[in-house]
């Protein structure tokens, strides 16, 4: 073959190379203005190019996007982000000990679920990705219930039907996590359309990763949201990696993901995803806009996948070991903590004791969760339940399969 002219997007660094985030366009904290809620999409296209940031390098909050949180609000945010992290750390260990089969962390991305969770109202409906465990926690799913799901035990909300982390919460208005990437995005838009049809002012929000933006459902959702001006927030969590491929493989190299909807007339905001205040504020802006009939907003949250893709993954095979340490937007937990310390609301000591407290909480939850069964010890779920909920009422053919299954189990 002659010389190929195919362009191959390449990450700036592979294992053994020096991390290089020079490709990331950054704006200083406070430099991006906050438009009026009724600004026309065409007049705010610049929001997709800049980077909305509130927390400055000196840990102060700057500019129009500062939500002006009081100490309590900041502590609430910090507490939930930390809980998310502590929970993830613990569940990861638990998986490594072979006590659950699979796990996925949100390490480094905790501001997404927590700040956005706080900016939404309880009646708003969330359509999460598999990295939004923080949303489930914040919206009232107990640690014990989450652990029981991962254990597929007798208290499992999924009754053993789903891989660990595939939570759902009807009462918390968080949709069932799907293993198929991006499928929840058009659901969020449809849900929001229904809200508009019913004349309600609840909005919907959904989350996908940078890699998932290449799926058809991403585009379906944008199209329907644009056509019907659905009250929805469509979030792209750009954590730079999709398993082993970097965001350039999802066409993130030339234009930010925040710009993906501009061609349909959907405003996009590029936000420092590790800046708790900026994430909160941008989300609230988009939510208020949607609630007033302003239609959809696409929010890109620029962050970094601090951990492995999942417990099945080994990222040292495809990216520099220390890449996270060089990530210019740092760690969301650390940044909020430093801000609170700078504001005089917090201290290293308080922080340590909060971590201890959360670890104790998680340990207690794990102890309790195991009572409902583990991978090796009972009590066990009744396998006969596997035939329930395929349909509203179980048809005769499934009933006879249930009988047959139990016969075979009994050795008949």
């Amino acid at each position: 073959m002659t010389k190929s002219r195919l362009h191959i997007p390449r990450p700036t660094a592979r294992p053994g190379e020096t991390p290089d985030f020079s490709y990331l366009d950054l704006s200083p904290a406070g430099s991006v203005d906050k438009p009026a809620l009724d600004a026309r999409a065409r007049d705010i296209e610049h929001l997709s190019r800049g980077l909305v940031r509130v927390l400055d390098d000196d840990h102060s909050a700057k500019g129009q996007w500062d939500p002006g949180f009081d100490a309590t609000q900041l502590q609430v945010g910090l507490r939930w982000m930390l809980l998310n992290r502590v929970f993830d750390e613990r569940m990861w260990q638990i998986q490594r000990q072979g006590r659950i089969s699979f796990y996925m962390q949100a390490t480094g991305e905790e501001a997404v679920s927590i700040a956005q969770g706080m900016a939404l109202r309880p009646g708003d409906m969330c359509f999460p990705s598999y990295r939004n465990q923080g949303l489930f926690m914040y919206r009232g799913v107990t640690l014990v219930d989450m652990m029981c799901q991962c254990l597929s035990n007798t208290r499992d909300m999924c009754q053993g039907r789903q891989l660990p982390i595939m939570y759902h919460s009807k009462s918390g208005n968080v949709f069932s996590v799907s293993g198929n990437l991006g499928t929840q995005y058009p659901h969020a838009v449809g849900w929001a359309m229904a809200s508009a049809i019913k004349g309600e002012d609840h909005i919907a929000a959904s989350w996908v990763g940078d890699g998932t933006t290449a799926e058809a459902d991403f585009y379906h959702a944008l199209t329907f949201a644009a056509v019907y001006q659905a009250p929805v927030i469509l979030n792209v969590v750009n954590n730079q990696w999709a398993i082993s491929t970097f965001q350039g493989t999802a066409a993130g190299q030339r234009r930010a993901f925040a710009a993906r909807g501009l061609g349909l007339g959907i405003p996009g905001i590029r936000v420092d995803g590790n800046d708790f205040l900026a994430v909160y504020s941008a989300t609230l802006w988009a939510a208020d806009r949607a609630r007033r009939g302003g239609g959809p907003t696409l929010i890109e949250l620029v962050t970094y996948r601090g951990g492995a893709h999942s417990t099945s993954d080994d990222p040292t095979k495809y990216r520099p070991k220390d890449e996270w340490e060089s990530f210019p937007l740092g760690d969301p937990v650390e940044r909020l903590k430093q801000h609170m310390i700078a504001e005089g609301h917090w201290s290293e000591a308080k922080h340590e004791s909060l971590i201890d407290e959360l670890r104790t909480e998680v340990t207690a939850a794990w102890k309790e969760a195991q009572k409902y069964g583990t991978m090796t010890e009972g009590p066990w779920l009744d396998p006969g339940t596997m035939f329930d909920d395929v349909f509203d009422e179980t048809p005769h053919n499934l009933e006879s399969q249930r009988r047959r299954m139990l016969e075979v189990e009994r050795g008949e």
């Binding site: 409906m125 359509f127 909300m157 999924c158 009754q159 039907r161 789903q162 595939m166 759902h168 919460s169 009807k170 949709f175 069932s176 799907s178 198929n180 499928t183 995005y185 058009p186 659901h187 969020a188 838009v189 449809g190 849900w191 929001a192 359309m193 229904a194 809200s195 049809i197 019913k198 919907a204 058809a216 459902d217 379906h220 959702a221 199209t223 329907f224 056509v227 019907y228 329930d388 909920d389 395929v390 349909f391 509203d392 048809p395 005769h396 053919n397 499934l398």
Partner: protein, 338 residues
């Protein structure tokens, strides 16, 4: 009672349910202002408004994906896919989401979407307006699949489907929208006017999902089929003089095994017929089930008459489509065997 063709019956089903239940909404390509390319939703937008009868972008995946989300938010969406040949871009949403949502959330979330779509050949529509993809859906657990063969059933089954809390894929055999068809392309078109199943109540009634119908009672042979071919089977029984019992499956999944088994246990012979390609089609499930349930009654192998295993060939549709000729040949084969 009124006289309706299948299009009118389907329209009436929408009307009745929309009138009773404000959560029923309709979406699809060209379904709104225009009333659908087959006119099945004609007049509904004028009556129920643009917010309940919604013209959608040309995006089958988006239509089904959005419908699922609407269903989760308490609406009862009826989505039209303009031709069954165009349903595949929405296939992932059907299989991975619609069919599994209730299961994976243990009933906390579900979405009662009905997907209507015209299917089948015999209208000189060529490959992309003639397919019969039901066999791809009947293998997907968590959805019900339906195909009516006449206006009465169409309305009653569609009302059942829309009112059901389960997702339903509702196939409409477009060849018989305007009248039953006995499988001879040379004969003039007939209308539902003179057919007993063209008599349709104006109001609300249901035909239950999951129940087959004996479309023609008989003693010598059981023909198991659905949609357009029900009428062709009846015509072929007349043509061949074989006293065939014709079973109209109506709901393909879940299948009414008892009605099939009772018939074959009585007749001892069975012919399965559908328009879709034969290999790996729904007819295979029918044959596999019948051989299992009726093994000791069967006198001869179960026959299958189906579309040949080629894409739908435009100009050869009358050699390809299982019309009267092929149905009669199939009957004779089964009768002469053994």
């Amino acid at each position: 009672m009124a006289r309706m063709n299948m299009i009118e019956a389907i329209r009436s089903a929408h009307d009745i349910v929309m009138d009773r239940d404000p959560s029923v909404i309709v979406l699809g390509e060209d379904v709104g202002y225009f009333g659908g390319v087959f006119r099945c939703t004609d007049g509904l937008q004028r009556k129920y408004g643009e917010h309940r009868v919604i013209d959608a972008p040309i995006s089958e995946g988006g239509i089904i994906g959005a419908a699922i989300g609407m269903g989760v938010n308490g609406l009862r969406p009826v989505a039209e896919i303009q031709f069954a040949d165009y349903i595949y871009p929405g296939f992932d949403q059907i299989v991975s989401e619609l069919a599994r949502l209730r299961y994976r959330s243990c009933g906390e979330f579900f979405s009662p979407v009905t997907i209507r779509t015209p299917c089948g050949g015999g209208i000189r529509g060529g490959q992309t307006h003639s397919q019969s993809p039901e066999g791809i859906f009947t293998h997907v657990t968590g959805i019900k699949t339906v195909m009516p063969s006449n206006p009465y059933d169409a309305k009653g089954l569609l009302i059942s489907a829309i009112e059901s809390n389960d997702p339903v894929v509702f196939f409409e055999p477009k060849r018989i929208y305007n009248g039953p068809f006995d499988g001879d392309p040379e004969k003039p078109a007939v209308s539902w006017n003179s057919h007993p199943k063209g008599e349709v109540p104006e109001g609300h009634y249901t035909v239950p999902l999951g129940k087959a119908d004996v479309a023609r009672p008989g003693e010598e042979l059981t023909i198991v089929t659905y949609g357009t071919l029900v009428h062709i089977a009846i015509a072929a029984a007349a043509e061949t003089g074989v006293d065939a019992e014709v079973i109209d499956v109506r709901t393909m999944a879940p299948l009414d095994v008892a009605t099939l088994a009772d018939s074959v246990n009585k007749t001892g012979r069975c012919l399965v017929a559908h328009e879709a390609t034969r290999f790996g089609g729904y007819g295979a499930e029918l044959a596999a089930t019948v051989q299992k349930e009726c093994f000791y009654s069967l006198e001869v192998p179960i026959g299958r008459v189906a579309g040949w295993d080629t894409p739908y060939p435009h100009a050869f549709e009358w050699q390809y489509f299982p019309g009267l000729k092929r149905m009669s040949a199939g009957i004779r084969r089964v009768m002469e065997a053994g």
